[in-house]
Every structure is written in structure tokens, then in C-alpha cells.
Amino acid sequence: MTNLSRRGRSRLRILSLGAVAALALSACSGGVTGGGGDEGTEEGPIRLGMLAPFSGSEAAFGPYMKNGAQMAIDEINEAGGVLGRDLELVTEDDACDATSATAAANKLITSGIVASVGGYCSGATLPTLPIFSGAGVPMVIPAANSNQLVDADENGVFLINGTGDQQAQAALKWAEKQGVKRLALVDDNTDYSADLADAVAEQADGTGIEVVLEESVTAGESDYSANVNSILSADPDMVYWTGYYQEGGLIAAQLASAGYDGELLVADGTVDAKFSEIAGAAAQGVEGTFTQTPDMLEGADDWISKYTELYGEGPGPYSTQAYDAVRVVAEGIKQADSTDSEAVIKAIQDIDGLELFSGPLKFTEDGTLSEGGFAIVEVGPDGAFVLKDDLQS
């Protein structure tokens, strides 16, 4: 009797082990194939992944993007979801760093996302493109805008933010409007920044503007007096800084204390209230090229008050783009009538006239916006950037 019962128990144990193993296996395969195609994601919520900086020097932007995306998801779910299923947002921190970003991208794919709606720093987003693309995940990138993202030519990449080329156009248009003859370009050697500076230099050819200096600084240092000196000796009418706000603030302050009295234009990576905090008094009068934020857009009042009510503070940069990225993906899935990546990518490419904050959406062949939507902003009295010129005329 005792023998039998012992054998019975051990058989039971084998059986249960087998069951656990089977479960684990099926769970794994569900996770792995989940990113790749339809299988394993037929039930439950449709997951959208977002990589954004929640730590590191650009950490300020992550929460804005997350909130904007979450808002779109909540609205879509309230209206019944997509294909009868709810949407769910999965966020991971890329810390604006290539290594963290690739690890985080792999993590998102394992969690079974159907599309990616993230990407802020171009340098961190670029190495994730082949990862998402290899797993068959379409990407609608809300904020990163280096031309290299377009040139990478991976399958299913869409930028809902204007590209570096478009931002360069805006910068030159503004410089011309201001009567600038001598322009100095200063970048920080990151993908986004160097690309933008190169794009400006390229497009300046044939205009009345001469690029008198192209200089790179090393990010992460505090003293830029050596760079400031070479800027001063080039004697420009306008300096265009294409890097991020931390170095931008230091350079603005050091330019001012070295006696520079020309104009300072900064790119969208520097357009942030923190810039004025770092630059101090030198921030006054600094202008920036920037994608329109909700407070600059007409008819966005309802959206802003809803956002403020939900998150206890006003919407920041890229919250609208993240909101729109989710809506673009949702529209794509709806049109494709499936979560199959090929079908979704094709459907997104074919979207015509979906109303976004930046206007009716139509993607170019490359997956960029047919209209860039960059505007000129200026540091206001309280240190935040406010709209100065929408460059429409």
C-alpha cells in the first residue's frame, strides 16, 4: 500500500511537472511570436510599446510622451477599442542612450507589442530600428527626427515629427527673415544634432546666408569658453545651436558673458524651460525652432484642459505627437482589420487625411510628414518658450 501510494505520488509529480513545463513553454512561445505576427495576441489587449527617456539628461520629456499616449489610448478604449479589443501602453526607459535603448526594445518585443509609438532621442532610437523591424513591429516615432532615421530604410518606420531637413528649412527661413548674413552652426556630435547642422549647411548653399563656422562641442563638460572663443572670432550675426538644453544653457550663458551680442537660435532639443534655468539671464531673447506644442495650436484648448485635469500639469513638448502616434497606429490597425504587421504598415502608409494636431496626415514615400510644421518660439518672461512666428508667411 505504502509503495503504491508513493508511486502514485511520484507519477502525480511527473504529471504536474510536465504541465508546468508545457505552460511555461506555451507562455514563452506566446511572448516570442507575439511581436512577430498575429499568433498569441488574438486575445486580450493590443499592446503598444513606447521607448522614451524617463531618466538621464532628457528625462523631462518621457512623462509628457507617456501621458499623451495614455490619453489617446484611454479615449480609444472608451469608444470601444480597436477590433473589439482594448489598447494597452507598455513603456520602457531608454535613458536617451543607445545601449539602454536596444535592451529596452528587446524587452518590449518580448512583452508582445504590436507596434511602437516611442522614440525621443535620435541616437537612442536609431539602433532600435533594426530590432523592431526585424521583429515585424511597425514604428510610428513621435519625437526623434534625425534624417538618419529616414535613411536607415528599415521597413515600417514613420515619423510624425518634422525631420531634420524640415527643421533646417525653418531655421534658414527664419534667419533670412531676420536679415542674417553670417551664420555659425554649433552641434554636440550626436546623430540628431550633427545631422541638423549638416542639413542647414547644405541648404544654406545658394541662399544669401554664409555659414561662417561649423563647430562641434563635447557634450557633458561644463566649460565651453574655448568654443565660445572660436564662435566670437568667426563673428556671426546668428548662432544656431542644434544640441540639447543642458549644453545649450551653458553655451548661451558663456556666450553672453563673453560679450556676444548677435542672435542665438536653438533647435527643438533645447526648447525646454530648463534651458532658461541653466542659462539664467542669458536666456532672454533666445529663439528656437520647434514643433508646435498644444498651447501654440488653435482649437486645442479642450485638449489642454483635459490633459491638465488628468495629469495635474499642463501638457509639455511631444505630448501631442505621442497622442497622435497612438491614433495613427490605431487607425492603421483598424484599416488593416488585423494586427498583422505587413497589413498594418501598408494601412498606415495609405492613411490620408486623418486629422492630427499638425494638420491632416499624409505620409511621404519615406514615411515622413508631407508638411513639417516647424515654428519659431522665443523665451518668454517666465523662462518658458512661447510662440513667436508660425513661419506660415
Binding site: 531618466s55 563647430e215 562641434s216 563635447t218 565651453y224 569658453s225 568654443n227 539671464a281
Partner: protein
Amino acid sequence: MLQLVVDGLFVGSFYALVALGYSMVYGIIKLLNFAHGDVYMVGAFAGYVLFSTATGLAASGGLMSLLLVLLIAMIFTGLLGVFVERVAYRPLRGSPRLAVLITAVGVSFILEYGVRQIMGPNPRVYQVRLSGETFNLLGARITLPQLILFAVAAGLMVALNFLVMRSRDGRAMRAIALDPQAAKLMGVNVDRVISRTFFIGSALAGAAGVMAGAYYGTIDFLMGFVIGLKAFTAAVIGGIGNLYGAMLGGILLGLLESFGTNFLGGQWRDVFSFACLILFLSFRPTGILGARVVERM
């Protein structure tokens, strides 16, 4: 041209302050203290915390409050240096030098990510900012804060020189540098003197950190890394283990960077300074003033 010299001198004096600690520690126990740059970072954060907790201080914002904060932060980083030496380096004093070197790298990470844990990963902005008039000296622009900071740095270096060359402790330090065993036999309390060396070196790095925070305005938890490398370069150029060498090396490195950037462009600044480090290590590892190292062997 003169502007390049002024800028070089100013940055160089920061490098020199940090390089002094590197050089002193190396001179006495032959340890490359890779955590030294992070002590500079901790100093900057200590100053930040002091300014933001004592809002009255921040409001008055005068030179006196800066000097007071500087002093408190120096004592704090000095004690931190003593603590690090006691916990991480002293137990390994008999071990192979590589073990201590690796420990130093470990301490560096602990300080960096400890501060990240406490203060968060985002850069912080100093409440107190030095601002003031601008002087024109033969076509070069010098600002009042630059002059003040340069004076403080020079004052600290003079005080250190006095301490090492004239005081009893200083004599003990020099004796240990020459021969620790013999110094011990002559009744020098080696442990205590090494502790004090760490205190002084770390306090100087902390002072540089507070000054950088008050002048440049923004600090973050990784700011010690680059300056640590630069200070090491400065110490090597001047002759590691030699106090005058550290000061000279710091100022030379500042000038090198300033002129190098002007002639080669900003993207070459670090390439240029670290190329100098490699050249010195290959052709004159004892540095410019390093002849005394040979004497010591």
C-alpha cells in the same frame, strides 16, 4: 590671443585643484585614486544641498555665503575622502597595486550611482549663481566671478603649499612619500598622515566642485568622470606625485585645450588633450617636473 590665455588659466585652475588631490595621494601611497573625480562631483552636490536647504543663504547670495558653503562642503568631502580611504583602501594596503586600482574604480561607481539614487538622474541647477561685472584687460574679457574663483583656487593652492612645506604634518607626508618604512621607524604615525592626505586632497576636489556648480550653474551625477580624467592628465603632464607639477600640469592642460580648440576646432579638444597624455606617458612618463620620482626609488 590674450583671451585664450585667460580662459586657459581659468579652466586650468580647476584642473589643478582636482589634480592636486590625485598627485598627493599618488605621491604618498602610489595609488591612482580613480574615485577622486567623483569626490569633486559629491562636493558640487553637497554645495547644492546646502544652498537649497539654507534658503536664507541662497537669498543673500553674497560672496560670504559662497565661501561658507565652500568651507562646509570641503569639510564634508574631506571626511568622505577619509572614510573611503579607511573602508576601501587601507584594508588593501599590503595587496598588489592592481587590487587597489580596481577598488578605486569600484568606489567611483558607488559614489556616482549612490548620488544618482539619492538626488535622481536629472541635472540640477544651482540656486546661487555668480554674476558680476566684466573687465576688459588688453582686449581680453574677464568677469568678476572668474577673478573671484581664480583667487580662491590660488589661495587654496598657496595654503596647501604652506601646509606641505612648512608644517609638521607636511614634513611627515614628505617623509612617507620618500620611504614609508623608515618614516614609521622614525615614529611617524603613517595611518594618520595618510588619512590627513586624503582629507586635504578630497577637500580641494570638493571646493572645485562647489565652485564649478556656482559658476557654470548645472551639475549632474556623472560630472566627475571627465574632470577626473582631465585631472589625471594634468597630474601626469606636470609629473605625478609632485605638487608643483600638479598645479603646472593643470594650468598647462587648460592652456593646451584653449589653444587647441582655437586652432583645430571644438571637436578636437579632448582628442588633443588626451593625445598629450599619451605622448607624455610614452616619452616622459615622469612629467615635466617629475625628476624627483626617480630620486625616490
